[in-house]
């Protein structure tokens, strides 16, 4: 596995697009928190602040706030996964890697490495964001209460990256894969969720990305309208883990059998 990671590193080390994506991804995780912090904490009138109760960026609420905000912006890493996968198909280097002496399994593992690495990067960046906003700007003392939200966030990013991996492997063409993926995360799933929720009830909340959303309600909005799902958290967590396993299984199945 170390050998595979070294080879993946050689592939991206001098690839400018990769670094642009990483930079943009990190920015997209930190910047919105600054903006929301500015609006809801710094510039909000004192009276309104009292009405809302505790500040969103105070411990322990800050865990949930950062996780919830970042769950909207970490799609950038998914686009990076699609780019890395479809590059291989465009350059036919997926074939060459196998010809030169990788098992097909190694090729899948090399891309799964990015899924895990980017999910960890998103998780760690969010952790840093929690510590910065909670520790530097927050008025409440540090607390681990609510840190589970960051765990939910990690799982949601993992599902989203696995979905990107699957789309990349199935579609192969960069542009089409990105459009399909963006279409799915931006509105197709939302439409499906609405339809299923309307006709079949709460089970509509168990779509891959929706399951994560149900676990990560935005703190203040949650108070105004009932936002979090009706099932126990365990149900959503199980769904997230099941989707991750399913997507990875489909990717292996596809790559081990098909003509490259």
């Amino acid at each position: 596995m170390l050998q595979i990671i070294k080879i993946e590193w050689l592939k991206v080390k001098n690839y400018r697009t990769f670094w642009v994506f990483i930079g943009l991804g990190l920015l997209a995780m930190l910047a919105p928190n600054f903006i929301i912090h500015d609006i809801f904490v710094k510039n909000i009138p004192k009276e309104a602040q009292q009405l809302l109760g505790q500040s969103m960026y105070d411990f322990p609420l800050v865990w949930q706030t950062v996780a919830s905000v970042n769950s909207y912006t970490s799609g950038i890493f998914s686009l990076l996964v699609i780019t890395l996968v479809s590059n291989e198909f465009n350059y036919k280097t997926h074939r060459q890697n196998v010809i030169d002496g990788w098992e097909r399994r190694d090729f899948v593992l090399s891309k799964l490495f990015w899924v895990v690495a980017l999910a960890l990067l998103a998780f760690l960046t969010s952790l840093v964001a929690v510590l910065i906003f909670g520790g530097v700007y927050g008025k409440a003392p540090f607390s681990m209460e609510g840190s589970r939200f960051l765990g939910y966030y990690f799982l949601q990013v993992l599902v989203s990256l696995c979905l990107a991996l699957l789309v990349g492997m199935l579609v192969k063409r960069t542009g089409l894969a990105i459009i399909l993926f963006l279409g799915y995360i931006m509105f197709i799933e939302q439409i499906l969720v609405s339809i299923v929720k309307r006709f079949f009830g709460n089970i509509g909340g168990l779509f891959p990305l929706q399951a994560g959303d149900e676990l990560l309600p935005f703190p203040i909005v949650e108070k105004l309208v009932k936002f979090s799902g009706p099932y126990d958290s365990v149900v959503y967590l199980t769904a997230l883990i099941a989707y991750t396993a399913l997507f990875i299984w489909l990717v292996f199945r596809r790559m081990l059998r098909t003509d490259l």
Partner: protein, 297 residues
């Protein structure tokens, strides 16, 4: 002699096209094995199956006497179809990736770059390369780690005449050093100059395989010419070993004999009959002619 590659009843179908139909043959170690066939005859499909980028519908094969796996592929230098590299990386960095996949030392990279004549451009991005340079890089990649077995699919693709001659010399040198070379080509001239064995494919079917002269029967013939070729044609029919005479280009006659004829004795025989030859050359039916005869049947 041990067997490098042994194919057993390999079949592959793409929709309605039967790309390979029950192909079986063995490639002995140390041979230069040409896989011949017209475009679309299944050559690349066959090599794709051997390198695990394609899955056969039926049949099996062994590499170096073992069940094929990545470990064997790492010991084979392969150039399949088009050169596949990361466009944004330089030649050197692309070869670093290949060396790591092959689990061979990166220290071999300067040698293969030198061999391919790419030293001056080794730090330019692959996307800036010409077609010929890309092909050279692919050959360099196949040579990394000095493998004992090479699979070369149309190695002269995109090369200029100098490049083609260089590749041919390279293949000869490699063959002399005892390496096994499996080469697919539709350029028969190339195969004729380097191959010891051939397998011939047409529409996915194996027409024949084995040593070149056993597969493609190529009778010796002699080209002769005299001051009056019509008289010479009449005369040569009286030669005791005569089989056939055909007019060749430029008023020369192509004569086939039952047995190998010594040119000196033929010259002397003609002179005794009163005809002095002004052209006398031993020749062989070209591989191209033999190949066309075989594949057109």
């Amino acid at each position: 002699m041990s067997t490098i590659l042994s194919l057993n009843n390999i079949s592959k179908r793409y929709g309605i096209v039967q790309a390979l139909d029950g192909v079986s043959f063995d490639i002995p170690a140390g041979s230069v094995y040409g896989i011949l066939g017209p475009n679309g005859s299944g050559k690349t499909t066959m090599l794709g199956i051997v390198t695990d980028v394609l899955k056969a519908d039926a049949g099996s094969f062994t590499l170096m006497g073992q069940t094929p796996s990545a470990a064997q592929r790492r010991k084979i230098g392969t150039l399949l179809e088009t050169p596949n590299f990361y466009h944004y990386l330089s030649a050197y960095k692309n070869l670093q990736i290949v060396a790591n996949i092959k689990q061979t030392s990166e220290q071999d990279i300067p040698r293969v770059l030198e061999l391919a004549g790419l030293v001056a451009r080794q730090h330019s991005a692959f996307k800036t390369y010409s077609l010929g340079m890309k092909q050279r890089l692919a050959i360099a990649a196949a040579m990394l780690g000095d493998p004992e077995v090479l699979i070369l699919d149309e190695p002269a693709n995109g090369l200029d005449p100098v490049g083609i001659a260089e590749v041919r010399n390279l293949i000869r040198k490699l063959a002399q050093s005892g390496k096994t070379i499996i080469m697919a080509s539709h350029l028969l001239d190339e195969v004729e100059k380097v191959c010891t064995h051939v397998a011939i494919l047409r529409k996915g079917k194996l027409l024949g395989s084995g040593p070149v002269n056993a597969v493609l029967s190529r009778d010796n013939f002699i080209e002769i010419g005299g001051p009056d070729n019509q008289a010479l044609a009449q005369l040569i029919k009286q030669h005791p070993a005569f089989v056939q005479v055909l007019p060749a280009q430029d008023g020369i006659l192509q004569v086939t004999f039952r047995e190998t004829i010594d040119p000196a004795s033929l010259n002397s025989w003609c002179a005794q009959q009163g005809v002095w030859l002004n052209h006398l050359q031993m020749s062989r039916k070209s591989l191209e002619t033999a190949f066309l005869e075989l594949t057109n049947n």
